[in-house]
């Protein structure tokens, strides 16, 4: 869709992964981009297969291994940007940018055992840093309006509500200035 709204102001610079941090439960975590390797993909399947159905939102992640694999095929493709929060060999969370016209749709998932430990903030900042480093300009998402934890996380990051007329809020973020007519990013300096 082309009529989505985005803030005029460009967001802060986000740190591109890899980054490492200790979560609020004293676990060592690392945010790394997904590089297309089979081992990471299998670790993702494992996380989503164990994902609490109560934490699904708007139909994703899907239930059952077969549908999880189909869905991952679509969002781990070459034109998508993905980062994973690792706790050792285990996936604690995953965030993705999927192209949609001239913008990217964002989604983020943190496994129930790793929630409420500050991982979501690191994960989304890592994803946006990865996107910025790769020239992503505009990001949008939808979130169920009762999901206050998620809405406040997105607001803290700089997302602004662009459509509040349905069950779901639509929010937008501008990561870089719009490309000028010559294809280069315009700068205000």
């Amino acid at each position: 869709m082309s009529d989505r709204g985005y803030p005029d102001a460009v967001a802060d610079e986000f740190p591109p992964p890899p980054t490492a941090f200790t979560d609020r439960e004293d676990r060592e975590l690392e945010i790394r981009p997904y590089e297309g390797d089979a081992a990471s993909r299998e670790a993702l399947v494992e996380m989503y297969d164990a994902f609490d159905p109560a934490d699904r939102a708007q139909g994703i992640p899907p239930g059952g291994e077969e549908r999880i694999r189909e869905w991952l095929d679509a969002i781990l493709g070459g034109d998508c940007y993905n980062v994973i929060a690792w706790c050792g060999d285990e996936v604690a969370g995953h965030a993705t940018l999927v192209p949609d016209g001239d913008a990217y749709e964002l989604a983020i998932f943190v496994h129930q055992e790793y929630q409420r430990a500050g991982i979501g903030t690191h994960l989304i900042r890592g994803l946006l840093g990865h996107g910025q480093a790769n020239g992503v300009e505009k990001v949008w998402l939808t979130v169920e309006r009762w999901n206050r934890a998620a809405v406040s996380l997105y607001k803290k990051i700089g997302f602004e509500t662009s459509d509040a007329e349905s069950f779901e809020l639509e929010m937008g973020l501008r990561l870089r200035a719009d490309a000028g007519p010559d294809g280069d990013a315009e700068t205000d300096e």
Partner: protein, 122 residues
């Protein structure tokens, strides 16, 4: 059953149309297809009417295709109430490239305000 299927030209509304026509042919439903204004749709109401008439003809059922102007949600409910429909059928929402489903404002209004059963086709 007396069924009112509301479509506005979105992909999910055409899915609802096909499934409702298919079901009507088997269950012998008394079906009316209401073509409503959907400002988010890229297909014109006239084209939507044509698609609906073609689907009805192909299934060889006796269903009315009616153009309904004005606010889509409230018009559907008004028709359902005054003409005593037993069920309203609508598209089940838009699926984003990510796979996230969002339910449109027409479906939200009808779900909350209709007295009849509402079916969202997925």
């Amino acid at each position: 059953m007396k069924v009112l299927c509301g479509i506005g030209g979105s992909d999910d509304s055409f899915r609802a149309l096909d499934r409702t026509v298919e079901r009507a042919a088997v269950a012998n439903d008394d079906l009316t297809i209401a073509v409503v204004d959907n400002e988010d749709s890229s297909v014109s109401p006239d084209e939507v009417v044509e698609r609906a008439e073609a689907a009805v003809a192909e299934a060889a059922i006796d269903a009315e295709v009616r153009r309904v102007e004005g606010d889509p949600g409230s018009r559907l409910i008004e028709i359902a109430e005054t003409e005593e429909f037993e069920e309203i059928v609508l598209g089940g929402g838009h699926t984003s490239p990510m796979g996230k489903i969002t339910i449109g404002s027409i479906a939200e209004f009808v779900l909350l305000n209709a007295k009849t059963t509402v079916t969202l086709v997925r």
